[in-house]
Symmetry: D2
């Protein structure tokens, strides 16, 4: 098998035409598509409807090529939309397709992908251990589907998880059950945090005895260097996509990851690029940059209110949410070295990397 990756632009969240063009141009066959990640231009917060809109538009567009109804598309293709293209970030889709291919003489490990989902999460499970455990199980299932045996070969776990709306909280309350929070915005953070701890558990990154309900959203010393979770109102279960390298896969694509220790940790970014045989002297030149197929990163405002001891305003700004500031900042740091702005930088890195930092992964074509 070979995992092919295409990065295509969207004109607006309702525009899936560039994905269809990949099919029309013969670059991918519809049934080869296993996952689509999208960076949409909403606020990435509670009332970001660009995620649901893009999901609906993708589903409508792919229904005919796949010969199924629009409603059936999300159960066939893992669709993960992440809102927020602040600063210079550019709205785009990352289309992951899998095709049969005789194992080539490449010898090494190649990019592998696997997707899975949790069952529908009850409101009271969100942000608590049941979400952690159900996510961990789905991550294991996705690894199996990706034919990745060694956890060390996993380089990215993308989770799209649900959030609590006023309505869902009321529904739980009507059953006499309390939810982890009564604040919609806070529920996004808890859901992302529980998802990340689920990945960490599956990958053996945290002591299985450590996470409990109280730790979620509080004990930020517990984190995964490879999890990326984003929450959205448009789904009730979690979608998991595991990316790694595996000898069972062929092709020229590989993935590597690292952890940014804070939002301006350029050295760690350069470290990831070096693992992929990029030479760094400032910004990648055009030829080098063309080897890069996708950049995936998490961004978050440090809870300390400072970056390297110097104050930032992200938490105190009541006009722009902290996660929007953080995406713009990390997008700038990455764009400086990579020379591109269509980067999948997503916000809210609770339990995903250290405070104020976050995981980063790069998918690239192997240097020959």
């Amino acid at each position: 098998m070979e995992c092919v990756v295409h990065r295509v632009p969207m004109r607006d969240p309702g525009d899936a035409s560039a994905v269809l063009r990949l099919i029309d141009d013969g670059l991918i066959a519809p049934h080869e598509i296993v996952a689509i990640l999208g960076k949409t231009e909403g606020n990435g917060c509670v009332n970001d409807f660009t995620r649901g809109y893009a999901t609906m538009a993708l589903s409508a567009a792919l229904a005919k090529p796949l010969g199924i109804t629009a409603e059936e598309v999300p159960s066939r293709v893992a669709i993960v939309m992440s809102g927020g293209t602040e600063g210079g970030l550019s709205p785009h889709f990352l289309v992951f397709a899998v095709r049969d291919r005789a194992a080539g003489p490449s010898g090494g490990k190649s990019l592998a992908i696997g997707a899975a989902s949790t069952p529908v999460l009850l409101p009271e499970q969100i942000g608590r251990m049941p979400q952690v455990e159900l996510t961990a199980a789905a991550v294991c299932e996705a690894m199996k589907r990706a034919a990745i045996v060694d956890g060390a070969d996993v380089h990215w776990v993308q989770v799209k998880c649900p959030l609590l709306t006023s309505e869902r909280m009321a529904e739980a309350a009507s059953r006499g059950t309390a939810t982890a929070t009564d604040n919609t915005y806070a529920s996004m953070a808890l859901s992302r945090g529980a998802s990340a701890l689920g990945a960490a558990l599956a990958l053996g990154e945290v002591d299985p005895a450590m996470p409990d309900d109280r730790a979620i959203g509080h004990e930020f010393g517990l984190w995964s260097p490879r999890a990326s979770a984003s929450a959205g109102v448009e789904l009730l279960h979690s979608e998991i996509i595991v990316l790694g390298n595996s000898a069972a896969w062929s092709g020229d694509n590989v993935i590597a990851h690292g952890v940014m220790r804070d939002a301006i940790d350029l050295p760690s970014v350069i470290g990831v690029l070096r693992k992929l045989d990029f030479k760094i002297a400032g910004q990648l030149d055009k030829a080098a940059a063309s080897r890069i197929l996708a950049v995936l990163a998490k961004a978050e405002a440090s809870r300390s209110g400072a970056i390297r001891g110097v104050r930032h305003v992200m938490w105190d700004d009541s006009d722009i949410q902290a996660s929007r500031h953080a995406r713009a900042l990390v997008g700038g740091v990455l764009a400086g070295v990579i020379g591109r702005t269509d980067l999948f930088v997503s916000g809210g890195a609770e339990h995903q990397g250290p405070d104020g930092g976050g995981p980063i992964a790069v998918i690239a074509r192997r240097l020959r």
Copy 2:
């Protein structure tokens, strides 16, 4: 003479205590202060009152040490506040002080500073040739005060210029006079543009025959690589600060500048750093970074709607102004290489560098 530069934080726009501490600690004497630049945490747009607040707070704080009234302070010290610390940017003051000093054996040119102001600008002059010409005259005056003879030794011209409020437009209208625009936000761009063209004229960067009323805000092929203008509601005239190097000055500080061709033009930033003898292999290390006293840059969303052919959303976002996105982005690019976030990145780069790019200058202690 020697120009000393101190970068100090502010806790909020009303907090000038760190400037007073410089005096208390004997690092500068009150009468040595010639200019204070401030990066405040407002939105940098029309209703950004953090600029006026910081100006009032600085004036109140310095009145006693200077032995004058608060109202008299701004005529003694050039105060230029620029709003907007999006992304990871950190609110701070840059305090420029000048002290007598016997010319040392340094031999080379050292950091020089000169300040001047235009007369009060009438509403109908703003964004038009009279503003261009009055600004040019003030730039020449400031150069003279800085003892800079050769225009090539000027590396930064900071202009703080007025804008049009509804009230000022009405006042002009009551005299039967039309202003260049009837839109407050647009007047900020025109005023910045006219200021930049004034600097360009004074520095011989544009053909004196070229700028006219129509060109301001339209012919963006005309630009200065060294001007940085920001508009604010808190003044009616323009304040000009010229920074350069001059053999008439002594001390270890020097300044260099460059032009970012677009918002992610890291190579140009590195070029400036190399002029100051920094070695670049990713991010400056702590020792190297400690040589940097101030980073001054302009940021702007490219009018093309794209960065290197890839769409950005800055102009289409009706929740966050384009200049806020742009500051966050450029702040990230700079922070990545420099490793600090207290950078003076200011928005609105009309006629200040090429479309989507802008001037950048770095003040550093000489490498010994």
Copy 3:
């Protein structure tokens, strides 16, 4: 014929379930639906994708009941989405259905509706006389379809018109043609203004010799007291819906309109309610309010910067667009007297009523 009106809530812009419920509950038959107006919870400005999302969701939902594809729905049902539910406004759909009915003994005139569209508008036509004239022609066509002979019987003309995106402007430029503006946000105002003047022309409200390209967006003394235009990125032509009373229609519903002279002109609102036989002593009581089927109003920040001589901040606020402030304000004024918040208050009233004011119409069941 009888025009039936249903006001139903939406949980989010992708939720058309309440419209389907009207069908399931037998309150309307699918083929009876002629128009759906929606108030969605986006920002109502350039990057408000809730309008397109709701249009897509409605189309998907109605495809099966109508036995056509989702793509065909908008050519069968006039769909007009208006973004912005600031303050207490509530997202909702207004569903207009027409059914055959023997003329009853009602005698008087009853609510009548007619829809029409313009052809696709070229970028260079937007905000100029061709848009005015094409809109006027479509308004006349819609009146004919509504069987309204006397222009005085028209009480509301809803126009959904296109705007200029960076892309559309570039396309025009590539053909060597200039558009009316190079600013996306400004194009919304021009398109609304041209639409309103088109309605005014069709209804004889302005001297046919008066409007010209220069007047659009400038001569605000020219206005329609019955036009309501909103611009959106999701269509390239204009949709027109005419609402009025006609003896050719039967049923209990009637419509009346008035003009708010400024944003707090409660007396004019009360005037409209009195035309519909409401008694006003403060707020309508529940029984009276239940007669009201729909409230349609335009809101705008006065260009003078003041309301009755007292300053407002709407134009100077760079964090919240003026139209968002205005909708919240007018929504409050209306909700106070009517006692409901699901009001169709839409922003941007250029050439739609006097400066700072706007048209208002109420559809109610006749008092028996």
Copy 4:
């Protein structure tokens, strides 16, 4: 004694000129000023620096007339700034002055005022019972100074209270002490809530046994119909101003209050106006409106997410804070009936009136 009230505009938060004009015009003497309430045009949330700016500007302006330093002014005049003029609300100051006057033949009770402050509140006291109790004590002291014996004669208790910044929380943590919340924005709500419960305790509106740490910010069945609290970063203690009617005072001014049951409860507003002998048939006419000296109200988004069963979007909007929506809405409701927009509507009504509603008071000249 007589309490004189003047409502004057501000051009921006740094503009206290209209207050000085009252003095220049002989309408008040400097030493007569006891309190100034200001409605400033910031966001009313964490980073609203317009409150501190206006306080600094007022202090600077009044120093000379009072013959004291700017720093001493706030201890002489109670200064309470409330941010947020969304919708059509207009920035203004309410200046309360007290002058000696022989008791006239008025007979009835007249407007009375008294101010007091709490000591500096420690970070760990904020949002907890110590704040409640210290506020209650200060309210009692202010009543005594207002010569109001019967609690029923108190019609408004304005509290300006501190909030927790990251810095203040860190300071408490460094002493090993936990604060009530680690979220800056949440601390504003807790501080307002504790302040309101303090007023309720002082006025006998709640059972003294009821409020405890847990109830603050949770048991919203406990509330004062006369308290109005707003939190700001610009002070560390609380300022309390009590307004009521007292036979010990003379003059034509009187105050009345009521409680809005929800944000659109116009009937309750009309009830207050009727207590002051206004006749209501829609909007007050100009003559009647001129009797109104000040309108004070609290606004808040209902936690239920609905107004009279119909959904609002205030809590789910991540671009505009809920309190900003709520002020705009209530401002519209009030402006509709009163016909003015310079209304002191302040946000965040925790424990101040029922969920989604809030207290309202009107100060007017007696009808003769």
